[in-house]
Structures are given as structure tokens and as C-alpha cells.
Amino acid sequence: MGAFGVAGVSLGADPVKLILHTTGTWALRFLVATLLVTPLKDLTGSLTWLRFRRMLGLYVFFYAVLHFSTYVFLDQDGKLSAIFKDIVKHPYVMLGFLGLLLLIPLAATSTAKAQRRLGRRWTRLHRLVYVIAGLGVWHYWWLVKKDIRPPLAYAAVFAALLGYRWGRRRWLERRADRGSASHGLQRPVELEQERLGAIPADARVGDRYAELERG
């Protein structure tokens, strides 16, 4: 699915559906991109990627809001009673709506200031992104009539990204345990700090990135 039709380019026979699908799909794509930042950082050893994470995350929110607005104003013609009935009766609408609600606190605390003020709680709060990814895929999965391959693909990508984080953590922990047993070394500082919650993972890397930027 490409960009929207602009002047002279048709949106096809069912423009509302096209806009709905396009905005929804882009919200999911930006969510994938957001969650790709950490593995890319690890694999390339470059912190440059972190520069884009906030923007990518906000794009998820942006497209989710567009998607919801399209549903409310174009698909349902702004009829609140119909929307309310739809949300209550049809679980896939509810799932998407829940995902959007959960995105609000993340978008609201996306500033560096909020990150510093919330500290450890910020990291915990932003783990909601995994719940949102799950809701997004579930929402998509539940609405397709029959061809589940596209939502399945997103589910697989999210599972891989989550699995990567889980594996990385296990690997770091095991390395730390082995290290402390055989060599009497301390656990890696990063992991220890994260575990104790002294410094939130993202704030920590962010600070380091800030240092880099300062030169």
C-alpha cells in the first residue's frame, strides 16, 4: 500500500477503507521500526539509531490517531451511538481502541524532561509498548475475513523482536552469572543498574548518547 492519493490520483472504489487500512498499517509499521531500534543498536554497535526512537514512537501515535479519526468521522460518520455500540459489541474495535488509549501516556511522557523526572518508572511505563504491539496485531488479526497472512507476518515480527530482547537479557544474565562464579567478576554494570532500577535503560543510553553528542 503506497501513499495516499493526491489531487487527480484516485483512492479507489472504497476510499474510506483504503484510508483506514493505510493509517492502521503505517501505525503498525512504525511500531516495528520503533522496536527495531534496540536490536539495530546492538548489532551495529552504533548509538545513532537511538536518535530516531522517539520520533518513530510518536509516528505510531500519530497514525493511530489518524486511524481512529478516520474510523469515527469517515467510516462511522461521527455517529457516537453507533460507535459506542460497535466498540462494545465487536471486540476487534475494542482492542484497537484500547491500544490507542495505552499509547496516550507513552506519547505524553515522550519528552526528555518526563524521562528524567519519571526515572525508573519511565522504563516500566514504556514497556507498555509490548502490550500495544500485541493489541495492534490482535486487532488486525480479528478483523480480516479469511486471509490471516498479513497479520500473521506482523505477529511474527513482533514475536521475533520480543524474543530478541528476552534472549539478550538471558544471555547477559548468564554471562554475568558465569563471570561472577568463575572469575569473581562483578555483573556487567549495565545489567546491574537496570536490575536495580538505578538508571532506566533508555535514560542511561540516552545520557551516553548525549555525552557522545557533546563530544
Binding site: S10, L11, G12, D14, K89, H90, P91, L143, K145, K146
Partner: protein, 314 residues
């Protein structure tokens, strides 16, 4: 929007008058000449048909554009996206075409489509089309009452249902290589539904030979039922005693039933059927309208279902 995308009703009618005056070809000849078309999204110039307009069986609502009707299709044999059929259906060869008739009837066997069509006279009917996905169109079909065809096979008293089958040929229908549905597509009607005067066998659209993506060379249209009952590219008709196992009902029995009558009071388990969005390139705002019982054909068909629990037999 290009002028070709919209067909004002007056122009449409005048063209129809011209066609009726003898500019069109006979159906049987023209179908053959057009079957070789293999390029482009839609055949640039599908052959015109001779038909008469059946106003008594047509709705007053303005029909959707030819462009909309031929580019927005659910036809999983050619892919699951709405645009896939227009892209992929052109490799389907619609001639020669054989329809095999069997089961509880006196006349059975394999028949060439042109032989089947020869004694039938074509008419145009402008019908509403309501998809189970909660969108709708208005389509000027060209066809003939299914009853006119079925009666010639002299169904016996045991013929309680009619079963239809789509062509199975993954080489021509690339979507059949995927397991998204069980192939070949099977649909069915109760014999009284099949014999109902509204039930149409279709060979054309907008006065022209039916494009492949719309189910050429022969498709079913049952206007008071959800669109998936309108089986396309029919190669088999069988009179049977028991209710046939139909494709969508078999693929998900809790969501799709055998009857599939349009019913705003019975929701799809995952979405509402109370309203629908009318397809049309021009409308982004306020395109939703209430869905009517039996898609607005209740006066003609509701009596078929006296005593049947429509909530259970969805």
C-alpha cells in the same frame, strides 16, 4: 476524476438504446471473440450484448461506475486483495467453456456454454449488491433468470437444492495455489430460492460481456443474499436432495451460513451488519446507509422463509 469513471444515468440509457437498436453483437458470437484478450487491467473494449431492460426488476438508485465495479472485487481465486482480480483474472480463458449438469434431473451431461445461452434472451437488471463485509454497490447486470435455465434440465421431485461449482485450475486461477479457502468454490441454493424470479445468471455488465474479474463467463447473482453466494466462473450445476456444503459456511460455520440472507438484525460475530458503506470514488463523507432486510427485496422474498428462524439460519 476522469470522465470515464462516471457514467451518468442519461448517457448510460442512451447507449443502451443504441445497443438495443442493433449495434451490439449476439451474445454467443461476441463472447468468443473477446476471450482471447490477455492484456491490460480490463479489456479495453469488451463486446456489447443484445438485451432488453427489465425496469420492473431494477432499483432506482444510481449504479456504481464501471471502473468501481470492475476494480473492487472479492474473488479469492485471483487473490485476496480487492484489486487482485482485476490484475490477475485476464489469463482466464472463458471459451471454450463447458458446464456439467448432474444429479436429480432428467436431462444431465456436459454442455457448451454457448449452447446453453442460445435459447435464452438477455435482460438488464439493476440490482443492489451487499457484501458480507458491510459495503454495497448498485450493479447493472446482464443475464437471465436462473429458473429459465434450470427448468430445461427437468429437475425431479428429489431436487431440493442446487449446488454450483467454480472452475478449479490453479494455472489460470493463481489464488487457488493458496490454502486460504477450500477449492473449488462451492455455493448452493434451496430449489425455491434458485427458481425465484429475482435469482439471476449473469453473463454481462453495463451492456457488455462480463469481465473476468466479475465472474465471466457465467456467474450467479442473488440480490437478497450476501455477495459471496454469487458464485463465479461456474462449471458445475448439480441438483441434490441434501443441503450442499458450501465454501464459506464450511470454512467458518460460526461466521457464515448457508442462507446468508442480508439481515441488519443479525450481526457478523465480529462486525455489525446494521449499516453498510456504499462504494463510490466520489464519496468519502456520509457514505454509510442503513442495511435493509433482505437487501431491500423483502417484499419479494421474505415469504420464502416463513417459519425459519433467521437468527439461527443466518
Amino acid at each position: 476524476m476522469a470522465p470515464s469513471e462516471i457514467t451518468p444515468e442519461d448517457r448510460f440509457i442512451s447507449r443502451r438504446a443504441l445497443l438495443a437498436a442493433g449495434l451490439g453483437f449476439a451474445a454467443a458470437e461476441s463472447l468468443g471473440s473477446f476471450a482471447g484478450e490477455a492484456f491490460g487491467q480490463t479489456p479495453p473494449n469488451p463486446a456489447a450484448l443484445i438485451f432488453k431492460k427489465n425496469a420492473a426488476f431494477s432499483v432506482q438508485e444510481p449504479p456504481n461506475s464501471y471502473q468501481d465495479i470492475t476494480t473492487y472485487n472479492n474473488y479469492y481465486e485471483f487473490g485476496t486483495d480487492k484489486s487482485d482480480p482485476a490484475d490477475n483474472a485476464q489469463r482466464l480463458r472463458t471459451r471454450p467453456w463447458t458446464v456439467t449438469v448432474g444429479g436429480e434431473a432428467e436431462v444431465t451431461g456436459s454442455f457448451g456454454l454457448d449452447d446453453i445461452l442460445k435459447p435464452l434472451s438477455l435482460e438488464e437488471r439493476i440490482y443492489r449488491l451487499r457484501c458480507v463485509e458491510a459495503w454495497s454497490m448498485v450493479v447493472p447486470w446482464i443475464g437471465f433468470p436462473l429458473a429459465d435455465l434450470l427448468q430445461r434440465f427437468k429437475p425431479t421431485a428429489k431436487a431440493k437444492y442446487v449446488e454450483f461449482k467454480t472452475l478449479y485450475d490453479p494455472k489460470q486461477m493463481p489464488g487457488q495455489s493458496s490454502g486460504v479457502l477450500e477449492w473449488p468454490y462451492v455455493e448452493g441454493l434451496r430449489i425455491d430460492e434458485a427458481m425465484h424470479p429475482l435469482t439471476l445468471m449473469v453473463v454481462g455488465l453495463y451492456g457488455k460481456v462480463l469481465p473476468n474479474q466479475n465472474g465471466a463467463p457465467l456467474r450467479l447473482v442473488v440480490p437478497w443474499k450476501y455477495g459471496f453466494k454469487g458464485i463465479k466462473a461456474i462449471v458445475g450445476i448439480k441438483f441434490v436432495e441434501r443441503m450442499p456444503h458450501t465454501t464459506w459456511a464450511g470454512s467458518n460455520p460460526s461466521e457464515y451460513g448457508f442462507y446468508a440472507n442480508v439481515n441488519p438484525a443479525v450481526d457478523h460475530p465480529r462486525w455489525s451488519q446494521a449499516s453498510e458503506r456504499r462504494i463510490g470514488s466520489g464519496s468519502i463523507f456520509a457514505s454509510r446507509r442503513p442495511t435493509l432486510p433482505f437487501n431491500g427485496y423483502a417484499d419479494q422474498v421474505a415469504s420464502l422463509y416463513g417459519g425459519l428462524d433467521l437468527r439461527r439460519n443466518f
